[in-house]
Amino acid sequence: MQKIEELMREKAAALLQDGTADCVLAWRRGEFPYDHATAVFHTGEELEELTYDCFCPANLAKYLIQTSRAGQKAAVFLKPCDTYGVNQLLKDHRIRRDLVHAVGTPCGGMLDIRKIRAAGCRGIVAIEDRGGDVAVTCAGGPVTLPRAAVLLRKCLACKGNDYKIADEEIGAKQAVPQAPADRFAEVEAIEAMTPEGRFAFWQQELSRCIRCNACRDVCPACSCEQCIFDHPGSGADGKAYADASQEALFHVIRAFHVAGRCTGCGECGRVCPEGIRLDLLNGKFAKDINTCFGPYQPGEDAETPAPQFTFRPGDPDPDTAVRNEDRRDGHA
């Protein structure tokens, strides 16, 4: 990883130097070894702080909206999964291709600090990713954890190490973390529950929401300039409600807004301070789109029309398409 970091600094400096880019989007070293932040670099001197290791899960694609609007040429470091987000933003006409210089950056999977903490690590001083395992130096002594156990959830269903959009690539591609798990296995597990079970599950999940809007802010598909949930007159803004049902539907509405555009990056679930499984809401839409309307991966390219913007005359009828064992009448 250290070597890639050096390559990235050199590349960023060169791009700023020769005028290819007005700014560079990358990650800045955090206060602790596991809390690197996203950052915009404008000068070569600032690049000292540029960092890249297994704690840079954030997708930088969404910042391109602001740089594109400002007319700045932005060089952006993209992990393979981040490239889907850029394609989707291009498809949504949110960013300008001529103002984006995409640099493919290898990724071997990102680690989840929550999982590391849950494994009993306290007072973390340093973390070293050694490939097969992760060496954590804690205040109380060193701890070694198997890498597969502390990978981010989204990395367990890795979409592969191909860049879907890249003007250039640096470093050598890394192997995907492990045999990719079935993306929809957990969605199917919920589908297999009884309706009461599903209701109880989602009530349990969504009741924890504090409406911090982090899921919205991080989502590369959630890119409206003005969000309905910020509009004071919409009846859907704010945090606390007298009417409970308005809160309830926030996540359903948000998931619907990004259905067919959600690349499955899993950032919403990662940033949720309450650990709500928002990725499972988006996953349901992705799964239904695949089964009802044919295979479709948002962000795979910047051209294929989204499934909701197109149709086939032979599409299934809603009533027959949706599996429904709790149906109580014989309506055809």
Partner: protein
């Protein structure tokens, strides 16, 4: 706590349950179908409140959620039969959207059964009445819509 709809509706001292049903009807087929039902003196329940839309494609899935949120016990969306849309393709898009919405409602364990899509043409007045009678009876058997209004605040 999971609210048990059946228990809630079993209160003996209440008046017979009258479901509130919102029907989104497209201007060209289903609304004309409703007219046809009236002209032909076909009865359908007064529980059905029709909202006329220019095309079933006008129906944002959020309208459906909003109707449930505001207290509808059932929502039915009626449009031209696929292939017969006045605007050529509007109902094809609706069909896709509603498939996704129904799938999601099913997934959340709420109200999937309270949403229905029916294609009714302008000449199908009798069918319109039949669909509305069937749906109203079905919603009456399900009872009051509680779950969608109760997702967040556990009571």
């Amino acid at each position: 706590m999971l609210v048990n709809e059946a228990t809630k509706n079993a209160a003996p001292d209440t008046a017979p349950f009258e479901p509130k049903i919102v029907a989104f009807c497209c201007n060209w087929c289903s609304y004309a179908g409703a007219d046809g039902a009236g002209t032909a003196r076909k009865h359908y329940p007064a529980n059905v409140k029709i909202i006329k839309v220019p095309c079933s494609g006008r129906v944002n899935p959020l309208f459906v959620l909003r109707a449930f949120q505001k207290g509808a016990d059932g929502v039915i969306l009626c449009g031209c039969h696929p292939g017969d849309c006045h605007y050529m393709t509007g109902n094809y898009y609706t069909r896709r959207r509603l498939t996704l919405l129904m799938g999601m409602l099913d997934y959340l364990g709420v109200a999937r059964d309270r949403l229905r899509v029916a294609w009714v043409s302008a000449s199908e007045g009798a069918r319109f009445a039949e669909v509305m009678n069937g749906f109203t009876a079905h919603i009456a058997s399900l009872g009051e819509n509680v779950k969608l209004r109760d997702m967040r605040c556990r009571k």
